[in-house]
């Protein structure tokens, strides 16, 4: 968990560094009065590396993913809730004597 978090922070730092290098590169081009066609290869490689690290961190840090299938083994509906509002007390369970010591002690 901590490792994933650290890797995520590292990935974000790499991306920030790539952004800074692009800005520096643009400044350099302005001095040399050339067109800005695209960032240099090193910056591209850095961005891809940062992407990989951040994605890995994003998938490992939150923990176990839950299933979204409605018919998967965990999500399937086993029973509908018994209608508690319509519960009647007139059932055969009345004949059973309870074994609990039913006294309200204070």
């Amino acid at each position: 968990m901590a490792l994933g978090f650290a890797v995520g922070v590292f990935g974000v730092l790499i991306l920030a560094h790539a952004a800074y290098s692009t800005i520096q590169y643009r400044g350099l081009l302005k001095i040399m009065e050339e067109e800005f066609s695209g960032p240099p290869m090193t910056v591209l490689a850095e961005v891809l590396l940062g992407l990989g690290l951040c994605m890995w961190a994003g998938l490992t840090v939150p923990g176990k993913f839950l299933s979204i299938h409605p018919d998967s083994e965990e999500n399937r509906i086993v029973s509908l809730p018994l209608n508690v509002d319509f519960m009647i007390f007139n059932h055969r369970g009345r004949a059973f004597s309870s074994e609990i010591d039913m006294k309200l002690k204070y």
Binding site: P70, N75, V78, N83, D85, I88, F89, N90, L104
Partner: protein
Amino acid sequence: MVTKTEETELNRLEIQVDNGGGGAWEYLCLVRKLKVRRSDKVLKHGLSILNDPKKRSNLGPEEWTLYEQVAVAAMDCQCLDVAKDYIKVLQKRFPESKRVGRLEGMLLESKGSWAEAEKAYSSLLEENPFDQVVLKRRVAMAKAQGNMSGAIEWLNKYLETFMADHDAWRELAEIYVSLQMYKQAAYCYEELILSQPTLPLYHLAYAEVLYTLGGLENLQTAKKYYASTIDLTGGKNTRALFGICLCTSAIGQLTKGRNKEEKESPELHSLAATALEKIYKQRAPTKLPLLNSALKGLKI
């Protein structure tokens, strides 16, 4: 809607609490959330919490909900003195409360004094004529007295006002099925499917009612709903698979004299039969020959 994970969690907590481990409060909260009816366990563990003054003060303001829950469980287990004591405690704390008034009505119901309970509920309804729970209790009382037509009348009046209450529709459907009024039960299940189309259990119940009604059109619709149940449960519902096989054979019997062009393709039936065999092989291999002979007996 109790899912499998929730059920396993509930069973685990139940075993843990029964064997003396802690966690009674979590168990009671889960029972309350899932709305299952385990009154004897609730009563036993609720009493153990509430009789211990230290645990009681740990609960804080939640203890009153626990009082209510254990009072209802006590009424279900017919321990009426415990219920009466708890209701008295609640009354002392919340003197003018409607909720406590409802509990008193339920206590009169469980004692069997129907007339007094009716009086209590009518007085509660005078103050608030649209109190859902009291209206539902009146239906339950009619059902408990065996007056099914009265229960149906009250429930229909309730549903005219509160059409979105699916528990009430389900209750009405079950009452109709118990009285063998299948057409009306089918109507109730249609309402349920309209409001919650992703619940496979409603599709299954509707298909079964249609199959019981019989007749070519109903059988064809029943087959469609069995198929939709299989679709929603990913093919794991054995009852729906059996339903398809039976529907196909019943339709075949009814259309025996008709043109062969109108005959439906037997693919669905053979698919269902294969799926059934696979499930039985996996889960109950000893019963496989029984299944095979039963499927062969269904003339297609």
